[in-house]
Amino acid sequence: MRTALLSLGLLGALLVTVGAALSFGSAAVSFADAYHVVAYRVADGFGASSPLDVPDPIAERVVWHLRLPRVLLALLVGGGLSVIGVAMQALVRNPLAEPYILGISSGASAGASLFYLGFLPPLLGQALSMPLAAFLGGLLSITIVYLVAYTGSRLSVARLLLAGVAMSALMASVTSFITFSSPDPGKLRAVLFWLLGSLSGTQWTDLVWPFVTTASGSVLLFVLARPLDAMLIGEESAYHLGIPVEALKRLLIGLAALVTGALVAVAGAIGFVGLIIPHAVRLLIGVSHRRVVPVAFIGGALFLAWADLAARTLLPEQELPVGILTALCGVPFFLALLRRGSYGFGAP
């Protein structure tokens, strides 16, 4: 009953969010015009010769080609980063793990900017695409962090966080260096984009890779809910429950790098979504992954959609990088979480 209510509430929140994101922005488009455009395009999409009037061309472009792909990308990126946060936290059994903090995002940024600015050797450059380059950068970064943090039989959380911070800094300087030394005059844009994260200028075609990776990643994590639950108790217990622990860990790392890479390639490094949302979700509904994964996805999606709406409306007619806002909300939260000391997902 409670789950049904929660699902209904989240669905309602999702609709309200998309509605708000379509209605507000720098161009003055009235609510009525915004929904006229959506209704017209949806009817048109179903091949129905629409009974509606052809909408105002400017309103149509603003709502259907600028705001809608952008809010959909915000939902995908927020949801994807949030469930990857859940996966990382199960992997290291600590709520402080997150793609941004563990250096995956900055590794992906470095990979993407290396590709974008043409600094890869020609043979490698032709074989890769930007999401693939971002994936490889993120994978490299998290592998190094994981190997540094893994001592003998267990993972040291202090080492994990320190290694994550160090790799983030290293990868951010790689990004800064290649953008600084690039002959491209747009380098300032590139460095800001990949260090701060932004959803500005999203087009429909940008949605393909984020959708494919985020949707399949979330479904996979949902299917793996029981093994993930077992991981929270401890690797040894999970092993005795018949779970192939090593294979699962490798799968989670690969998945985190893949989804983060695809998201960073289109949205830059947006931090702290994967930290705040899973934590809040666990406080609300407990630690069972069968519920945490879907609710964290929707929660992250909502959070980033609102953050992006703020990013494009705080300064009238101008754009702010959305990563600034997620960091403004996320860092105090992170510090509070550190201050509270270890919390073991309900089990000491």
Binding site: G25, S26, A27, A28, P57, I58, R61, V62, H65, L66, R67, G186, R189, L192, F193, S200, G201, Q203, R312, L315, E317, Q318, E319
Partner: protein
């Protein structure tokens, strides 16, 4: 082994020599300059500039152009790595890096005066040079008149006042002429862009809006409170400019802008093909060539207007 030993024996003596020569050099540099006069620069800093300045290092390309316009081209001791104009003067000169400031290289050129602008460097950047008794004079260019005034100031600093006054007067009257010629025309709505993908533009405090207005246009971004706003795509759809002028260089393919922003197909400038790209140096570099920039914009806004050639102060 023997060589190594000898080195160690001689080492203390070498130290003494280095120390002695260092003291001598320092004694030399604390000697007051022959004659000096304290001045106040654009940032209200007090700068002591020697009466005769023969070696100048500008820390930004626009300061080089202004120095040349003020008649001080022969005083340039070095220019920045970004300098490219006028080629006949800057190409043979040694280069220094200014972002971050390469202090050693600058001091190595033994300047009497270093010129800086708050658009590139901060007064903190100047402190190490001041410590080494190299005066740093700051300029600040917010309005077009600041640029002309800068030429006059440089004339005073370099002792080339008559040349500098003449240059500033010619530029002022050339801009006035342009204003008079375009005054009777209908002013199209103009959007000037610095970036084609991320939409950096010029807000109200920027002198670029003055250039557009002198060229007989109306800037759609002059109501922004910041000098360099990042526009949203929706804003451009809403503002519906008649003309878009990108500072992307003369070789830019202007169809690229429509490719990057497919929703702009309803913007008048895109529909009528009035999208142009010009050299950023004529507009975004606050130097003597902004007047040429204004004439170039006027020729794009009012192609039927028969304009005289703008004054070329630097050949």
């Amino acid at each position: 082994m023997r060589v190594f030993f000898r080195f160690r024996v001689f080492n203390p003596l070498a130290h003494v020599w280095v120390l002695l020569s260092f003291l001598l050099v320092c004694a030399g540099c604390t000697d007051p300059e022959p004659s000096t006069s304290p001045l106040t620069d654009a940032l209200d800093r007090s700068v002591v500039v020697p009466d005769t300045v023969t070696r100048v290092v500008p820390l930004a390309p626009n300061l080089t152009e202004l120095t040349v316009a003020a008649g001080g081209g022969d005083r340039l001791a070095a220019v920045t790595v970004s300098d490219d104009f006028p080629p006949a003067i800057v190409d043979p000169l040694p280069r220094v890096q200014t972002l971050p400031v390469d202090y050693e290289a600058i001091v190595g050129h033994d300047p009497d005066l270093v010129l800086a602008t708050d658009q590139v460097n901060t007064p903190d950047d100047a402190a190490p040079l001041q410590q080494m008794d190299v005066p740093v004079y700051f300029f600040s260019f917010n309005a077009v008149t600041d640029i002309f005034e800068g030429i006059r100031t440089l004339g005073t600093l370099l002792g080339t006042s008559s040349q500098a006054e003449a240059a500033a007067d010619r530029l002022t009257s050339a801009l006035d002429t342009l204003r008079a010629r375009t005054a009777s025309r209908d002013a199209p709505r103009v959007l000037v862009l610095v970036g084609d993908e991320t939409l950096y533009a010029f807000g109200g405090p920027s002198y670029v809006n003055t250039l557009v207005e002198a060229a007989g246009g109306r800037s759609v971004t002059d109501h922004f409170e910041t000098a360099a706003p990042t526009l949203s795509e929706e804003f451009v759809l809403d503002a519906a400019p008649d003309v878009i002028i990108g500072l992307f260089g003369d070789d830019y393919d202007t169809r690229q802008l429509a490719r990057l922003h497919p929703t702009w197909d309803v913007v008048p400038a895109i529909q009528t093909g009035r999208v142009y790209s010009i050299s950023p140096d004529l507009v975004s570099r606050p130097g003597p060539r902004v007047v040429q920039g204004a004439y170039r914009i006027a020729a794009l806004l009012h192609p039927d207007l028969d304009l005289p050639a703008p004054p070329a102060l630097i050949e």
